[in-house]
């Protein structure tokens, strides 16, 4: 048998209340990509954090070419040539793209002066390689989530690295960017690099990886070459049986029950003259590429970002009445795109995060004292229903796995059960079975009368859930299509028009 280039041997790691890794042995070879798979909370990120020097394991060693090495800090890891694209992004919003890319290792000339020309050059080379259209001088705060993710990836590509860890890199990328990433990974493999790839999208595994390794509850439960394992087996290994719900073709077509009307919504330079109506019990899809305005419009509607002009009406006691984004927010639930930026309260407990939007309903009669038993009860109910992996309700949300953090946000809004729910990438970071469960829940609450605005980059999810699609492009709604429209048409509308803009953009 070949000696693996990288071997993590018998790794064990225990956190308070959970054995995150137990006796995990993980091999990776040069010139190949290995997929690291597993359900939410299986221990994938923890294993990679061990490799990246972010946490130190309780047991086990790391070997490269059969030689045991010591990785104690992230700096050790990067000196060995390990590049890590983290699941949770950590960019400095007030600095530029190139500053962020070089932050840990600025090129300097004459020992003192930061050489910005070199930075700019290397940075644009990497961005070109990734097919990313942003400039090195852009500020991170002005970028959308997808572009930020590309910056994170770009950072890993700088310098002389041998091992590349991608922890769910595609969870906020659209199709075009995914393709670029696949191309880049292929190039890395051709150059003899080692790629470790974590994802919940199995099709990506088949596209990118040669081998897989599956974790379950912190233990290796299977693996092998891609030919040896079949998709169905993989799913069973990771999460057990999954019941995928197909909504079939049953859709809402009645348009006589408007619950919210938005007209001439404009924010200069972002979107212009947006008009749409949301009906009771409808699942309305906002479809478009990253940066097309779909997220921005949703945020504008609920007053999370300022808008320049808007006319809104929202249903109160069965009648449409004038409203403003700020009043609308009080009646709407919003699962935001970036859970850590404007979703979670990271240092707070799971319980408090879950009940935060629902406190008004959790107070004792005629007082403002919180009814703790009611709070506990509801928390338990949704932890159970969403199968959130925690050691205890008081666990700090920051220490949950990425997917489980997302579930906490979903639980929060299901607990409130608002009449309108906006969900921006609600299944980001969720494993296959959790995705299926969320889809089931979305369909059910819509049936019960909740109106939903759904934003997702996953066309399958959109096709199987939405009653109607608004297609966004460059800050405009370019089509309003009922269920029944073909996938090709949706993709074409979003992407095709994108090409036109690309040509127009060539200054």
């Amino acid at each position: 048998m070949r000696v693996p280039f990288l071997r993590m041997k018998e790794i064990g790691k225990r956190f308070p209340g959970v054995q995150a890794l137990q006796d995990v042995t993980f091999d990776a070879f040069q010139g190949e990509a290995i997929a690291l798979l597993g359900a939410n909370g299986a221990g994938k990120s923890t294993l990679m954090n061990v490799l990246g020097g972010i946490i130190s394991p309780d047991e086990g060693v790391i070997q490269i070419n059969g030689k045991t090495i010591n990785i104690k800090t992230p700096k050790d890891a990067s000196e060995i040539g390990i590049a890590f694209v983290h699941q949770e992004m950590a960019l400095l919003p007030t600095m530029t793209v190139m500053d962020n890319m070089f932050i840990s290792d600025y090129p300097v000339s004459m020992k003192i002066k930061i050489n910005r020309a070199i930075m700019r050059k290397q940075c644009s080379e990497v961005l070109d390689l990734l097919g990313c259209r942003i400039s090195p001088e852009n500020y991170i705060r002005d970028l959308g989530t997808g572009d930020r993710q590309m910056v994170e990836i770009g950072r890993a590509l700088l310098g002389q690295n041998k091992i590349f860890i991608f922890d769910e890199p595609t969870s906020s990328l659209s199709k075009r960017e995914k393709l670029n990433l696949v191309r880049v990974i292929q190039k890395l493999k051709d150059e003899g690099m080692t790629v470790i790839y974590i994802t919940h999208f199995l099709n990506e595994v088949y596209e990118i990886c040669e081998r897989v390794s599956v974790l379950r509850s912190g233990q290796v439960v299977g693996g092998g070459t891609i030919e040896e394992v079949q998709m169905i087996n993989l799913v069973r290994l990771m999460v057990g049986e999954v019941k995928i719900e197909d909504r079939g073709t049953e859709r809402i077509t009645s348009v006589d029950n408007p619950i919210m009307e938005v007209s001439s919504l404009t924010r200069k330079g972002v979107y212009k003259d947006i008009n749409f109506t949301l009906h009771k019990g409808e699942i309305l899809g906002f479809w478009g590429l990253l940066g097309s305005g779909r997220t921005e419009v949703a945020r504008g509607v609920v007053g999370l970002d300022p808008v320049d002009s808007v006319k809104m009406k929202i249903s109160k006691n069965g009648e449409l009445q004038p409203a403003t984004p700020d009043t609308v927010r009080r009646q709407i639930g919003m699962v935001t795109e970036e859970r850590r930026v404007d979703g979670l309260f990271l240092p707070m407990s799971v319980k408090r995060n879950m009940s935060m939007a629902n406190l008004n309903n959790l107070i004792k009669k005629n007082s403002s004292v919180i009814d703790k038993s009611k709070e506990n009860l509801l928390c338990d109910e949704f932890v159970d229903r969403l199968n959130i992996q925690i050691s205890d309700k008081e666990q700090i949300v920051e220490t949950l796995s990425g997917g489980n953090q997302q579930k906490v946000i979903l639980g929060r809004w299901l607990e409130v059960n608002p009449s309108i729910l906006i969900m921006d990438e609600p299944t980001r970071g969720l494993d296959v079975s959790a995705k299926a469960e969320i889809a089931r829940i979305i369909v059910r609450i819509a049936k019960e009368g909740t109106s939903i605005i759904l934003i997702s980059s996953e066309i399958d999810e959109m096709m199987s859930l939405c009653d109607r699609f608004l297609v966004f492009n460059k800050g405009k709604i370019i089509a309003d299509l009922a269920y029944g429209v073909s996938e090709d048409k949706l993709v074409g509308l979003a992407a095709g028009a994108d090409e036109v803009i690309q040509e127009g953009d060539n200054e």
């Binding site: 225990r14 308070p16 209340g17 959970v18 054995q19 379950r216 509850s217 233990q219 439960v221 299977g222 999370l304 927010r329 009080r330 919003m334 935001t336 930026v341 404007d342 979703g343 979670l344 309260f345 990271l346 240092p347 707070m348 408090r352 935060m356 939007a357 406190l359 008004n360 107070i363 007082s367 403002s368 004292v369 919180i370 703790k372 050691s391 205890d392 929060r412």
Partner: protein, 330 residues
């Protein structure tokens, strides 16, 4: 495959024992704190036996109550991620206003009420600047501190305003040997701790301090909460003004001198309140106030000069802030 029901059961029982251990670790930390406190008391007992004189202890309680009330006000502001540097100067000015009113014949009770309202009004100005005008708390309250001490000095010509004996007698009225301020301190500590820990507004307070963006998404009236904390700290400054004026027998601009703010901040920080927001409780700040007062008292009994005492206190605060940020990192 090594995955059967037995391993699951094993894993579950393991998890249970780990959780228990974790709980023990927390208890262990509490024990450590208690041990440290006992040690400190022992040291004081050996080196400054006069400290345990009942009159001195009573004195400490009375002094803690004024410092503690201000620290509680500061704590609520800290919890939302803000700060209020104007507390002592507002305290002084509202005390002066009360005293002047009484000198011109206003009923002491009415004067006291006006004193509190005056403090609250200044707090409201701070609150509006921060919440509605989005100004930086540090800058706003620093400027307010300047304005307040300026006005205090100006309207009193740096001369203390004496208050009538009847007023002093009401405010320092003794129950079971302890004067009213101590009870006020205990009651306000209890109420504000309850407010923070168990009520809607309390939960919101912490949420706003931890993540303003998330708070907005969760429909929390963040601006209102922030505004309220400044009004609260201003009003408590007013209350403190009443108590301190009675204790000193007069109100003057020196009551709010700038080293008082240092004590207020230290009390909060030593009491486990984070200056980054979202962590701590009024009870902690109240205990912190007792600790700072004890420290002042001991340094005083040991006849440590003012300046070395400042150094010792300053170092102590740095240590606590360092501990705080270390704890946050963990």
């Amino acid at each position: 495959m090594k995955f059967d029901s037995n391993t699951v059961k094993l894993a579950c029982s393991k998890t249970d024992s780990i959780i228990k251990k974790y709980g023990e670790k927390r208890r262990y930390r509490k024990i450590v704190t208690v041990v440290v406190v006992i040690l400190i008391i022992a040291v004081i007992y050996i080196f400054v036996p006069r400290f345990f004189n009942p009159r001195n202890l009573k004195n400490i309680l009375v002094q803690s109550s004024t410092l503690g009330l201000m620290a509680i006000g500061m704590t609520l502001v800290y919890l939302t991620g803000g700060m209020d540097l104007s507390i002592p100067s507002v305290m002084a000015l509202s005390g002066i206003i009360g005293a002047i009113l009484m000198q011109s014949g206003v009923n002491p009770v009415i004067a006291a009420i006006i004193t509190i309202l005056a403090g609250g009004a200044v707090g409201a100005i701070n609150g509006l600047s921060v919440s509605a005008l989005k100004m930086i708390p540090f800058v706003v309250t620093l400027a307010m501190m300047q304005v307040m001490s300026g006005v205090s000095t100006w309207i009193t010509n740096s001369v203390s305003v004496v208050v009538p004996l009847s007023y002093i007698n009401i405010v320092l009225f003794k129950i079971a040997g302890l004067p009213l301020p101590v009870y006020i301190f205990i009651v306000i500590t209890a109420i504000s701790t309850f407010l923070c820990k168990s009520t809607l507004s309390g939960r919101w307070l912490y949420a706003v301090g931890i993540n303003m963006n998330s708070a907005k998404v969760c429909k929390i009236p963040a601006d209102r909460i922030v505004f309220f904390t400044y009004v609260f700290s201003g009003s408590l400054a007013g209350v403190t003004g009443i108590l301190l004026t009675a204790r000193l027998g007069a109100a003057g601009p020196l009551m709010g001198s700038s080293n008082v703010i240092l004590d207020v901040m230290s009390a909060a920080v030593v009491g486990g309140v984070s200056i980054y927001g979202g962590v701590g409780s009024p009870l902690g700040a109240a205990l912190g106030a007792v600790i700072i007062t004890v420290l002042n008292n001991v340094l005083n009994l040991l006849r440590v000069d003012f300046f070395p005492a400042q150094v010792i206190k300053g170092v102590l605060i740095i240590v606590f802030v360092a501990l705080d940020s270390f704890r946050r990192k963990k």
